[in-house]
Symmetry: C2
Subunit: 124 residues, 2 copies
Amino acid sequence: MKRRQTPTKSAVLDVLTKAGKAMSQNAIEQEIPIDINRATIYRVLNRFCDDGILHKVIAEDGKQYFALCDRCDDTHKQHQHYHFKCTVCETLECLPSEVSFSIPQGYVVENVNCVLTGVCKNCA
Amino acid sequence: MKRRQTPTKSAVLDVLTKAGKAMSQNAIEQEIPIDINRATIYRVLNRFCDDGILHKVIAEDGKQYFALCDRCDDTHKQHQHYHFKCTVCETLECLPSEVSFSIPQGYVVENVNCVLTGVCKNCA
DNA sequence: ATAATATTGCAAGGCTGTCGCATTAATATA
DNA sequence: TATATTAATGCGACAGCCTTGCAATATTAT
């Protein structure tokens, strides 16, 4: 299935690029200049994830956040860095700190989701 | 507000103790012998969290899982250990591995939520 | 026993995310 | 340029998770 260029895709990518942080579907919809259906935004976001352009983080509110991370299109497919969710400004950003853990024998890790919650530099 | 002893509270604690792992409201409700309202289970679980008896983990499905962890009533209030969610048996368990990270200056971390997803020892 | 109030059940509602289906629009082909 | 192919979208609907208000119940203290 070959991807097509659409206004929706560019608009979503544009918002995420300018934001420089992870955003929820809702936040993206509010920031986007054109009117795009909710389901469509989700589909666009998930396609971007499939294509390795975005990565998805689950925050402590149980919601999905999507980020365009500069360190993501590297060798490892997994996004093994920490994320920080500020309870004040609701921002979710990627941290430079890499996740490292030891796992008991026999376990196979396929995905990593690490979110620190608190107050960010700007809001402190 | 002083807590009261109720059959619901004991039943919930009992299930979680026997399970020895983190469980969702739904899973708890299914395991519980008596019939308890969904909202009530949530209220009981959240009260236990407030009282420091349980801790809550958000998994990659966006759902809340509650665990009675043996290492939790220690000095630190935060539950800074990794969790492992098996995609096969759907189990979410606490790992012995402690979470360690470096955080940029000015950030205040109040909570940690780290979940590894994959296949556990039993299902591999 | 009685009062005070924490806990519960019920119903309802909000929010998130997904899906099927008809329609539209982007790309390839003639 | 016109046409065919099919990816992408909008709409509506739905399921699931979690919370909340309110009246009824049950636990604890007096």
